[in-house]
């Protein structure tokens, strides 16, 4: 079964995405911040991660740095509230792991489509 990890500090949103993914037949795991995510990722070993960019604690940049140090290249889809320029996208991609980003509030089907598409790449 395909494994997805949902990282978001907002419990409702986290649980909603979790439910969506379970209904789509994914095996899921949740984390409420960067610290918890980095702890659980080695155990759960997800195929893909949805990661909120604005969470208390570790910044996205710090999270990505730590993943790089672990040599972990799990695919990550960012959840943001702004859109990025080509330059910024390139900058983000350069950090590794990031395969896509989706802007909040997103369509339920759009998120599922993006997750499935990223997994197929």
């Amino acid at each position: 079964m395909t494994k997805i990890m949902i990282v978001d500090d907002e419990q409702d949103l986290r649980e909603m995405i979790d439910l969506m993914m379970k209904k789509e037949g994914f095996e899921t795991e949740m984390a409420q911040d960067g610290m918890e995510f980095l702890e659980k990722i080695d155990v759960f070993q997800p195929d893909i991660v949805t990661l909120d960019v604005m969470m208390p604690g570790l910044t996205t940049k710090e999270i990505l740095q730590q993943l790089r140090e672990k040599n972990n290249n799990t695919k990550i889809i960012l959840l943001t509230v702004v859109r990025y320029s080509e330059e910024e996208k390139a900058q983000i991609i350069k950090m590794g792991n990031i395969v896509d980003y989706i802007t909040k509030p997103f369509d339920f089907e759009e998120l599922i489509d993006r997750v499935k598409f990223s997994l197929s790449q």
């Binding site: 949103l13 909603m16 209904k23 960019v53 859109r83 320029s85 080509e86 509030p105």
Partner: protein, 500 residues
């Protein structure tokens, strides 16, 4: 004398007398030589003729004398006449000179008065004013200057180097260059008071030159901008707080919205079990209103970013035809609800533009959306794009209710609604056109409208073919909302990725 006969003598006498009678006094009667009465008579006549001749000569001489005298007199009169004329002329000239003098005196008085006014102005000016000579030493200061710098008497500063009045740092060469090249410099400096304390000053200086273009003096005017700086700092702080607040608010509002939208969509798609038609209808209303709320949040955020100059633009090479069609496509379903046809007319050979196409699409959608709102069922909306000189012009024409003349210039104002009742019915907070204007101006374009009540409206906006050099940098120079603000360093998502 030849001797002649007596008879001849008499005949000669008669002839001579006849000649004399005719005015010929030349002939002399020849004598008989007999020394008789006849001879005596002849001699008498001859003497008489001579006398007459002499008398006539005398008379002629006298006459010539008289003529000469007359000529002399006439000449004198002429001279006199000329002298009179010259005198008359001189008199006129004198009068003129006197008038000139009068005028000169008047203008001198006026100049003196003006000088007094100017002197008073300089003396009573709230600006600190300093005049320095061509070597940069102070020759004059006004009372405001003394007050601003905390000097008691002008003697304390007269003769000093003018540059000692402020902290020079790196500006020295810049000021010198500007003075030399442009004859003046305007800017801000840190002024140093008599006691060594400092204050920010707005400075305006210029060179005063004479007719030969030589520098005579330097005029410098100072304004203490301490209060202004404080206000600016406060404004910046408020602006920062506002932007941070809006950023956080936006994130905080959009996150719960994501949860609402996600769950509603899941229920609607019956992922969580079957629902009735009524439940479906109710949830569709929830979804529609969630979208509306989300649009409002997005608009408020856009306005705030346009106002503070922090709107993010992503310029990309854009195919106009494709972009217009995509924008129109998203409006199709809401147009169809009112049976409205959207027709597009795109000019041939339009150049690709370097623009933020999502933002320009947003402009087209905003305007078309308004057009749909205010058009009656079954109406037509025309969307055109064509190249005109160095710009691509977009036109969105509707045949709706139109906008009254007096409201046309307010239509781009934030939160402005032509008819609040009507607009509320149709939804919308009056932000769309304001945002559209901000986006178009940022791209170096223009936006306007033509409208007539009952006939419809046409909105025009242009985008330059030659792209603005840096959308964001350019934006800083355009005061879209009439309030000048400096770009903030937003705390937000951007910082997560910037290479600090």
């Amino acid at each position: 004398m030849d001797k002649i006969s007596e008879k001849d003598c008499i005949n000669e006498m008669i002839e001579t007398i006849m000649n004399v009678a005719r005015g010929d006094y030349s002939a002399q009667i020849k004598l008989t030589g007999k020394n008789d009465e006849l001879d005596s008579l002849a001699m008498g006549i001859n003497m008489m003729v001579d006398d007459i001749k002499n008398n006539i000569k005398q008379i002629e001489k006298e006459r010539e004398k008289t003529v000469a005298r007359t000529k002399e007199l006439e000449a004198n009169r002429k001279q006199l006449d000329e002298k009179v004329k010259i005198l008359e002329k001189n008199e006129l000239a004198t009068l003129n000179i006197m008038e000139d003098l009068q005028r000169t005196i008047e203008s001198l008085e006026k100049a003196e008065e003006e000088m007094k006014i100017k002197d008073n102005a300089i003396n009573s000016s709230i600006n600190g004013i300093v005049i320095a000579n061509n070597t940069g030493n102070i020759t004059y200061v006004n009372p405001s200057f003394l007050r601003m710098w905390g000097y008691k008497d002008k003697k304390e500063v007269l003769g000093k180097a003018v540059v000692k009045l402020w902290q020079m740092k790196g500006e020295y060469m810049k000021i010198i260059d500007a003075m030399r090249d442009k004859g003046g410099w305007v800017g801000e400096l840190i002024a140093e008071r008599a006691d060594g304390s400092i204050f920010p000053a707005q400075v305006s200086s210029h060179l005063v030159t004479n007719e030969k273009d030589e520098i005579v003096s330097i005029m410098i005017s100072f304004v203490d901008i301490t209060e202004r700086k404080k206000m600016e700092e406060q404004l910046r702080k408020l602006d920062r707080i506002k932007s941070e607040f809006l950023n956080v608010t936006s994130h905080e509002l959009r996150t719960p919205m994501s949860a609402i939208k996600g769950y509603v969509q899941m229920v609607l798609k019956q992922t969580l079990g079957e629902i009735t038609e009524e439940q479906k209808k109710a949830l569709n209303v929830v979804l529609r209103n969630t979208d509306r709320l989300d649009n409002l949040i997005r608009d408020i955020l856009d306005i705030s970013r346009l106002e503070s100059g922090t709107m993010k633009f992503i310029p990309e090479e854009t195919d106009i035809t494709k972009m217009v069609n995509e924008a129109v496509e998203t409006m199709k379903s809401s147009a169809e609800l009112k049976n409205i046809k959207i027709k597009t007319e795109i000019g041939e050979k339009l150049p690709n533009l370097i623009i933020d196409q999502e933002r320009i699409k947003q402009v087209i959608i905003n305007i078309v959306n308004n057009a749909i709102k205010f058009s009656s069922d079954g109406s037509i909306i025309n969307v055109r794009a064509k190249k005109k000189e160095e710009d691509v012009w977009f036109e969105i024409q509707d045949f709706g209710r139109g906008i009254p003349k007096e409201k046309q210039n307010k239509i781009f104002d934030t939160f402005y609604q032509v008819d609040s009742g009507m607009d509320r019915k149709f939804g919308g907070a009056g932000l769309g056109l304001s945002i559209s204007r901000g986006i178009v101006l940022s791209h170096g374009g223009k936006i306007s409208l033509e409208s007539e009540v009952g006939k419809g409206s046409t909105f025009y906006f242009s985008l330059p073919v030659k792209p603005v050099e840096d959308l964001e940098d350019r934006f800083k120079d355009i005061d879209v909302f009439g309030i000048r603000k400096e770009k903030n360093n937003l705390k937000g998502e951007k910082l997560y990725f910037s290479e600090e």
